[in-house]
Symmetry: C3
Subunit: 319 residues, 3 copies
């Protein structure tokens, strides 16, 4: 299958038990290899039938009397592995030996949790998509009724901790969510624990806990397809004090609706930013995580993450 | 509603009795404000619910515990007023105190006149659209049958007067128009008075008078949306020696057909000019007003209009 | 009719017995003349009715009291002639006196030959389209079943001769084609003679002979419309040991299918090359003619064709 990561067109294919990722261009006449097919675990180009293994080595040139495995005929490979139903691609030709592997996704495989997955393209930058996924104030507006309603007005405390792994905000004194999500998670109300987390390089995580019995943790792994298009692989694990079979039919359409509304808003935002030739933001204190995410992404880009010192901050928000 | 003027995306909205025009970008996260709604006379952004009054001042930031009216959160406003059913926008933040206001449109509100309005986008530059609206020779071709036919051949005199307000051509000795328009305006023929006028900055006016009883004055106000797209607000006032109720059903479809034919021709012209990378015109004497319009637009652009001296010229045309 | 050659939009029209080609832009207001019509053997612009003869001279300016034939009002003409049902355009204002005229197309007008014509746009460069038309190894893949199948494996000899008229490859020891084409050309097998030829500036010719009775010669004349779009005028002449009336219904759909498959592959190739910002090819010996075509096109571009020396080369291919 064809996919694009960081602007680079790739073809990802299964080679027996393994997965492989090659730059999606046949070294011969530059046809996309993703239009070909897998034959004997190798990827075969549809134009002249050249074949490549998962390291990119050419294994066959039909008609050619010589040996196909010449360095000049190698396709470019990217490191590639599979875990928990997701294929991870590395922006390097091989996976480094000391790589810890893809992260565990909280809730997946744990007793009592229902896991809902969704995959959606967000027409926005990585930063805009991360900020949107972790932004509280827009939920009352954009997802009004679904998530929280605007009617209430409570002053809550937000504690922000940033280090070189990411940034987390804990919301203190937040009332149980209202709206449909609230009624599902906390039918009887109760004390809420709520965290929003950005985990480098590109994961947005939202965690709600209501007492001992209700727990929702959404891990949204983002892949920058191009500068202005970001794919989200959302994995939402939910534990509720009702039978698991009842959870999915209720929770899944709500999650999909929220993501769709967000994607539509990001499309409008991105179109407008491109129409004006660039971003020109202004922020207030209640844009809690957006500026931190920007800072961390820039530090990561410059290879300066180790210079990010652990910091704490408290602000107040009306909700 | 969203509209674009001189390449700048704007949102125009009603704020009680007034109208307001803001640059169509929320200062917060750059979403188009035209996707929002008017709440309590202010314009509300659909993403986080920030609100702005018609001067662009921010009046609400949901969730924020501080005061919203900070200069850094101001949206950019353009001067904006309403007259005779048209909203006029100024390419300045406010309307200057000594501004005379939008011009009166001849015939509107006068006894005995039927007023037909049309709004149409012309895929052409301001200059090409103005020249088209005031050009006589194309009418026999493009609007053959509707406006005038090619069969006749009379030598007429054209008197051109130019000053720093615009340029006017009077056609002397012109026979009554033939074709459908002619039969409507002058069922019995008669002496024709015909003026074509370009009024700075961007109005094209065509006036026909046949004796005392028939009068048509078309005031076409043009807004450059972008360099290659021009919106026409046409206001055609007609007095005819027949009951007013009969005028509109006949005149309106003819006007719309003429404008549509012109818009289609301008689309072909503009596409071709862009395909060739730019204009390369040649003109003859019978391109009476086009070169004058070009000159005046250029002088206006350079702020040199006061250097335009009053001039007179006479040419001859076969019609 | 409108057509584009080497990126230049042209209008080609019949002027009595002759054909004319003008740059598709009225010198007056730059409208495409191809939107007009031919009146009295001249081409008339649809906007103001200016007319032009096949040399580009302006013959009429409606309304203008002077003489229309002024040099400043001339449309740009290209040399243009017609032969064997094809209109040939010269990238010069007139056809040079010593020009030999368009080439004869083998088989056309000869007894016993059925001629099939096809016209198709290939979304690829002139080089990519020429190479595709003359490339043997892709046929087993892309046209598998139609042309030759992959099952066989014979080592054959390819003799390549290049001079400043073009390059030719003769295939020695090639078994009769299998697949549908093979069964049509050589129902009983037999000795095959097979030539592929590139003839400067832009013709790809494929010739098959099986004994005395079967002969197929496909002359594919290519016009570069733009850098990445090439039109093919294919003329396929076939002699078979069956009645002519039976040949066309069988051969025509096969030819169209092959051309369509090639055009689809070139579209994929070209899209991918543009996505990656340019070509990055690697070749083997069995890319017999592609590198020669590239070399000859480059020499022609630089006006250095006379420096191309006659050369011979033999390589081997498995088929």
């Amino acid at each position: 299958m064809a996919c694009t990561v960081l602007g680079m067109p790739l073809v990802v294919f299964r080679s027996g038990e393994d997965v492989g990722a090659l730059v999606d261009r046949c070294p011969h006449r530059n046809v996309p290899l993703s239009e070909g097919s897998v034959v004997d675990n190798d990827l075969q180009c549809p134009y002249h039938g050249w074949r490549f293994d998962r390291t990119g080595t050419c294994t066959r040139v039909p008609g050619f009397c010589g040996s196909p495995e010449h360095r000049g005929r190698k396709a470019t490979s990217w490191g590639c592995t599979e875990k928990d139903g997701l294929v991870w691609v590395y922006a390097k030709d091989v996976i480094p030996d000391d790589d810890p592997g893809p992260p565990d996704i909280p809730g997946v495989g744990r007793d009592g949790y229902t896991v809902v997955r969704a995959e959606l393209d967000f027409p926005g930058t990585l930063h805009a998509t991360l900020e949107n996924a972790l932004d509280v104030p827009h939920t009352a507006f954009l997802h009004g009724g679904l998530f929280r309603s605007e009617a209430s007005s409570n002053r809550i405390e937000c504690r922000v901790v940033r280090d070189h792994y990411g940034v987390e905000c804990e919301y203190i004194g937040e009332p149980a969510p209202t709206g449909l999500i609230g009624r599902i998670l906390a039918p009887g109300g109760g004390v809420t624990t709520h965290y929003d987390r950005f985990l480098l390089p590109s994961t947005a995580q939202v965690e709600y806990r209501l007492g001992e019995r209700s727990h929702l943790i959404a891990t949204n792994i983002l892949t920058p397809i191009t500068d202005f298009l970001t794919r989200m692989y959302a994995v939402v694990a939910v534990k509720l004090p009702v039978p698991g079979a009842l959870v999915r039919p209720v929770i899944e359409p709500v999650i999909r609706k929220i993501l769709r509304q967000d994607a539509e808003m990001l499309a409008k935002q991105t179109d407008n930013i491109q129409r004006f030739g660039g971003e020109r933001y202004t922020s207030t204190e209640v844009d809690v995580l957006g500026p931190h995410i920007w800072h961390l992404l820039k530090m990561a880009e410059r290879g300066e993450l180790e210079q990010v010192e652990r910091s704490y901050r408290t602000i107040f928000m009306e909700t």
